[in-house]
């Protein structure tokens, strides 16, 4: 099937099998390997991207379902060469170790902060509860998101 998906602001047209998963479309067709695959059952969240501004698990979305829509991935977080505060926060607060869950965590965190600029610890834990991190015990992920909330020097949503 011929599909056109806008990824990080750029339209891509490809001829794909109907069964192709969005995560594989991004990784294999577009070489955007920042989005990871981790479990097949939408439990781990390593594959979280935005589909029309909403975080989805791209291992459970067909690429054809994204046709005509806008996808944002970790590669689209940086703006004009400047890191998003959540990216900076994860570095400042040691919110990552192996880095495999990080892109998904960053996408969910950005989404949360866009809706709730000053989230409580409980809100942050709830927001990332559909994603698994095997390294950090979540503590520093929570701190990283809080750091980003406190250091939103610019309006990312502009």
């Amino acid at each position: 099937m011929n599909i056109t998906v806008t990824v990080n602001g750029r339209p891509y047209t490809r001829d794909v099998e109907p069964r192709l998963l969005l995560v594989h479309f991004l990784r294999d067709e577009l070489d955007l390997t920042g989005t990871h695959w981790g479990c097949d059952t939408s439990n781990c969240g390593a594959c979280v991207v935005w589909l029309d501004e909403v975080p989805v698990k791209s291992c459970t979305v067909l690429a054809v379902m994204a046709s005509g829509k806008e996808v944002r991935t970790v590669e689209g977080l940086e703006r004009d060469g400047e890191l998003d505060p959540v990216q900076q926060g994860f570095t400042e607060c040691h919110g990552l170790q192996c880095g495999f869950c990080t892109p998904g965590m960053l996408m969910t965190s950005r989404w949360l902060l866009d809706r709730s600029p000053d989230p409580s610890e409980a809100e942050i834990r709830e927001a990332v509860s559909g994603q698994i991190c095997r390294c950090t015990g979540y503590e520093n992920i929570v701190r990283s998101v809080r750091w980003a909330a406190e250091h939103s020097s610019r309006e990312v949503a502009q």
């Binding site: 059952t41 439990n43 990552l96 495999f100 994603q131 950090t136 015990g137």
Partner: protein, 788 residues
């Protein structure tokens, strides 16, 4: 202090983060080589069955399939079986029988990942089902099906008997003991489940004859040597590259059949072949952990002095004995089970058996079975406290090793290097506000609420190890390091260990910066590529800082001494008259006359006349053979609330005071501890791999194998004490696995404490709501089996 401009130890932000936060990591599945093909493994649905026939004709006819490999293909290459790390053999692709559900039967190589999976459906395998052995406790019964009939003369499922300690002395202590408490304790089968599964890109260059594999390995050099030994490939023609690794936890130590198949696939097709497991394959077939069926007995005086510990273990090793540990230790380091206490006599006897389950056993941040050992002794201490009606903190304080007892030789032959255990426990009790918690618990009990407080104290033995005692398949566990300072004073360190998230690129740069007095930013760490780094055994068992960290300090000091000679020539002073201030050699008594490391580096590469016998340039190599293990320790306290109506456990607080000696980067150390504590929550409350009577794996996806999320984990409360290791050049000890080893017992002890009003003294992990509810009813179930 700003970031990586720092010159040594401290909370330096990680160098590796820059790529990960941008989605620019380079994991195995991100690698795409020109002409690359994709592999997929066909696996057995049966736990135990005879392989009657494998028909691959339809798969081979698939237009996108390039090769189909079966056990028969491999047998023709003498590769159908491969040696394990424990002196056994394991089937690469089955030829005679399948021995666990998920065992590898055939391998397809195709143009795409999807096509390879399609072709698996076209392979027709005829199995003749055999009765399986699922319950380890029946594996040695008369008439039990013999799993390993491939081994000559094998008439049962027995693998080994192993013991440590003095049985007679221990029996004497027990015979005369005032109090003895005994308990069966199960540490169920779990899986490390790193978020990235295992995989490989194998690339055989037919022209040069060189095999390059990009693979998820924690031990690239060991893999290279094993491939050379298994496949008969010349070792200098094998390059193992371990790029960014998405978590390992021991899951990525061994060599899996899929790796060998991908290599054969590349040889057969002449093209690179990628194989990545899916999640079910990872959970069902790669290194599981634990599965220790233990019976503990503890002997003590009535006033709470522990005198003896006696343990028997039935160890379920699965269908092939593939545990990854120093070869001379079939039960790993389990014999450190006397834990943190001054115990007169101790003995353990471990029997390993085959069952129709996946092979493995030593993985998951276990420090070679110290998880099981620490869990057992800490459960036994709590059971003893209950029996004596003593507070568990008080019982521990009466028996913990005191500072003046170190170095301490244990009843089973370990020499603990340093510690002051009561100080660490007292610190944890202070942070927790222990007395207040006990008062609150009493109040809540009055109201019928179930609140529990659990303590565990652990001693780890990490940094394997002295080469005369410790080897893997004959390879001594020493590690090399190479350091080169370029003319402008920038340094490149090459190490044998391999990070899987531990932050080696930062920590090891900090060690060099600390020793040479140059900025952390000026040190590049090269690792994970056998063509670029010196030989060494890799990263597991918390060995990187104890072994490679020491190697790095030693090699940096060699370079510093070389710099001293060069500085002497520059300053026209005898090297012996120079003194070191960080980053600079100066003439004693004349601090204004000196040379910086950068100036020395340039001079070492320049035209300066050097003393006879001194070569130019500024570099050094070393191999570090640790004189002993390092022994980190810690005191953990968990506070839980149990819902009496549902059995649901909530971890309200968790206090962890770790002592891992000198901390090179405290931020990274704390991160490692956090991760291990989450593992403890998972193992104590959620994670288990159970099997039904047919050997069906009941934890084969993340829908069934439950990992802790942000909701189950509390906000960790950390503390530290610092007792340097006396034999490590930096005073550091390993820490990566401490929290995984120490935390499960604290949580289980807390839950059992909460259930004390019901007369409960023990319950096996995982303490799921269903299990806890049944325990409350006085009807606990076997958590490892779903057999009526």
């Amino acid at each position: 202090m700003s970031g990586n401009g720092q010159h040594g130890f401290g909370r330096v932000p990680r160098k590796e983060d820059a790529r990960f936060i941008r989605g620019q990591g380079n994991y195995v599945d991100d690698i795409k080589l020109p002409g690359m093909l994709y592999g997929a493994v066909l696996r057995s649905p049966h736990a135990h069955a005879r392989l009657v026939s494998v028909d691959t004709a339809a798969a081979e006819a698939h237009p996108q399939v390039r090769a189909v490999i079966t056990g028969e293909t491999l047998a023709g290459l003498d590769l159908a079986w491969m040696p394990t790390l424990s002196g056994d053999v394991q089937a690469v692709l089955a030829t005679d029988k399948v021995r666990f559900q998920g065992q590898e039967v055939a391998f397809v190589v195709a143009d795409s990942h999807y096509a390879a999976r399609d072709a698996l459906e076209l392979i027709d395998v005829d199995y003749e089902a055999l009765p399986p052995v699922i319950d380890a406790r029946t594996a040695l019964d008369d008439g039990a099906p013999v799993i390993r009939d491939d081994l000559e003369g094998r008439g049962d499922n027995h693998i080994f008997d192993w013991e440590a300690g003095d049985a007679a002395a221990t029996d004497r202590v027990f015979d005369g003991a005032e109090v003895v408490v005994a308990q069966d304790v199960l540490y169920p089968r779990v899986h490390p489940a790193p978020l990235e599964t295992c995989g490989i890109v194998a690339d055989m260059d037919k022209v040069t004859g060189k095999l390059t594999v990009h693979t998820t390995t924690q031990a690239p050099h060991a893999h290279r040597t094993v491939y050379a030994l298994v496949a008969g490939l010349p070792e200098h023609k094998i390059r193992v590259v371990s790029p960014d690794i998405g978590g390992g936890f021991g899951n990525k130590v061994g060599i899996y059949p899929g790796y060998v198949c991908a290599i054969v696939g590349s040889i057969v097709t002449g093209r690179p072949v990628k194989w990545m497991e899916d999640r079910s394959e990872n959970l069902m077939t790669t290194s599981f952990a634990r599965d220790y069926h233990m019976r503990g007995e503890i002997a003590a005086t009535r006033d709470g002095r522990v005198r003896g510990l006696r343990v028997t273990v039935l160890a379920d090793h699965g269908a092939f004995n593939g545990t990854a540990q120093p070869t001379k230790f079939p039960a790993g380091f389990f014999h450190v089970f006397t834990g943190s206490y001054d115990i007169e006599a101790a003995h353990c006897a471990v029997t390993g058996v085959y069952t129709n389950k996946a092979p493995g056993g030593v993985a998951y941040a276990c420090s070679f079975r110290i998880t099981e050992a620490a869990y057992l002794v800490e459960r036994m201490m709590d059971m003893l406290a209950a029996e004596l009606d003593l507070d568990p903190a008080e019982l521990r304080l009466r028996n913990l090793l005191r500072a003046e007892q170190f170095p301490y030789s244990t009843a089973t032959g370990w020499e603990y290097d340093s510690g002051d255990y009561p100080r660490t426990l007292r610190k944890a009790l202070d942070i927790a506000g222990y007395d207040k918690l006990r008062a609150e618990q009493a109040d809540r009990r009055e109201r019928g609420e179930l609140m529990g407080i659990g303590i565990s104290f652990f001693t780890e033995a990490v940094g394997a190890g002295p080469r005369k005692h410790m080897d893997i398949l004959g390879l001594g566990m020493a590690d090399g390091a190479e350091l080169r300072v370029h003319p402008t004073g920038k340094a490149v360190l090459r190490i044998s260990v391999q990070t899987q998230g531990q932050g080696h690129e930062t920590t090891f740069a900090q060690i060099v910066a600390h020793e040479l007095g140059i900025p952390v930013d000026d040190v590049e760490v090269v690792h994970g590529d056998t063509d670029q780094t010196p030989f060494g055994l890799g990263t597991y068992g918390s060995r990187s800082t104890p072994v490679s960290g020491a190697a790095t300090a030693v090699v940096a000091r060699k370079v510093r001494e070389r710099a001293r000679i060069v500085a002497g020539a520059m300053l026209e002073a005898a090297p012996g008259d120079l003194e070191w201030t960080p980053g600079r050699w100066t003439v004693r008594g004349d601090p204004s006359s000196g040379a910086t490391m950068q100036e020395i580096a340039m001079a070492a590469h320049g035209s300066l006349e050097l003393p006879d016998g001194v070569e130019g340039h500024l570099d050094a190599t070393t191999v570090y053979n640790p004189p002993n293990l390092t022994y980190p320790f810690g005191a953990y306290i968990a506070v839980v609330d149990v819902d009496p109506g549902t059995g649901k456990v909530a971890v309200r607080r968790f206090v962890a005071v770790d002592d891992c000696g000198v901390r090179i980067n405290p931020m990274i150390v704390e991160g490692q501890v956090h991760g291990g504590l989450a593992d403890g929550v998972g193992m104590a409350l959620m994670q288990v791999m159970a099997f039904d009577e047919d050997g069906n794996h009941l934890g084969a996806s993340f829908m069934d194998y439950l990992l802790p999320t942000s909701m189950e984990c509390p906000s960790w409360e950390l503390g530290e004490t610092v007792t340097p290791s006396p034999h490590h050049p930096l005073g550091a000890k390993g820490v990566g696995e401490s929290a995984t080893v120490g935390s499960p017992a604290a949580i289980v002890n807390a839950v059992v404490d909460a259930l004390a009003p019901y007369g409960v003294r023990h319950a096996d992990m995982p303490l799921t709501p269903a299990n806890v509810w049944r325990v409350i009813q006085g009807r606990p179930f076997r958590t490892d089996l779903a057999i009526p």
